[in-house]
């Protein structure tokens, strides 16, 4: 993984994480990224802590150091604890059945993208409503692409301290 940034970010300092990052270089897509980011966090039925659990699970698979170090403040305020994050990473059985179903879907999305088999679908249906499952799929579509983007553009250190950020609005 390259620690050297492969592109120069815009020289803007708007305070908006996306606008000021390399993503801000593409004028045609920037407004859509900004709108989608807010929609993912605000417009779906999953709680911020559940969104964050899925995001962090994805970040671990992708190997995005920055994505793994970040915690969104609204997820922390919503109750996402480091104990839950550790349990998710260690797979030590410390997650609730609902949290486990979220993690199972993330793994399925990443490793075996296909129509869920009856056993997985039943497990999802027992814990998540139809609209919650749509939200989970769409947030994976967003975060997986976003984390791979961060990795592919380089500039990623070997490790980073945990840091809280806000949803860019």
């Amino acid at each position: 993984m390259s620690i050297k940034p492969r592109v120069q970010s815009p020289r803007s300092d708007t305070g908006n994480l996306i606008r000021d990052s390399a993503l801000g270089l593409v004028p045609e897509t920037l407004p859509h990224y900004l709108q989608l980011t807010v929609a993912i966090w605000d417009k779906g039925p999953l709680t911020p802590a559940e969104i964050e659990l899925a995001r962090l699970r994805n970040a671990g698979h992708v190997g995005c150091v920055m994505c793994q170090a970040v915690r969104y403040d609204i997820a922390v305020e919503d109750g996402l604890s480091e104990e839950v994050v550790s349990s998710m990473r260690a797979e030590d059985g410390g997650l609730t059945a609902r949290q486990q179903s979220i993690v199972r879907f993330v793994d399925h999305y990443l490793h075996n993208p296909s129509k869920p088999d009856p056993e997985l679908q039943t497990a999802l249906d027992e814990q998540l409503s139809e609209v919650e499952q749509v939200h989970l799929a769409l947030l994976m579509a967003y975060f997986n692409g976003f984390s791979r983007c961060a990795v592919a553009l380089g500039g990623m250190p070997d490790s980073m301290p945990r840091m809280e950020i806000s949803v860019p609005r």
Binding site: L36, I40, K43, G44, V131
Partner: protein, 159 residues
Amino acid sequence: MHYWSQPMADINADAGTYARATRSLAEIAQPFAALYRAFWTLESLPAETLELCRLRQAQLLGSDLAWRHEQFGLSAQQREDLKHWPSSPVYSDAEKACLEFTEIHAMDARAITDAQADAVKQHYGDVGLVALVQALGVFDAVTRLGLIWDLETLELNAS
């Protein structure tokens, strides 16, 4: 109109579509579809090149649906040669740089080398590289959603 108040004929008409799969969450599905559509009119990267990359991703992910989908018109030869793009004369050096980047991105974004990124930048600059990386993430997502939701078409028209 909410999906539960749609006439049954309308619901059946869009069965197997992105609109149907996401009808309960248009507030997120619509911005995602809008982002996908934005890639096809970029100044920094030709749509033809992006279509080649999208199709190569479809091959690597084993999505027949994404492979059959035609987002941008290519020649029959461009489609036929895609599995053997390194040795095919139908692709330009710029397209080959993007296809090589696409293949590594599909397998593991961490494995992309500076040389592969530089090869894309040589033709399309910093903005083109960012646009390609963004597009690959979104195209990959659309292909995965199509597989997971068992869609019959990849037309991204949110309800």
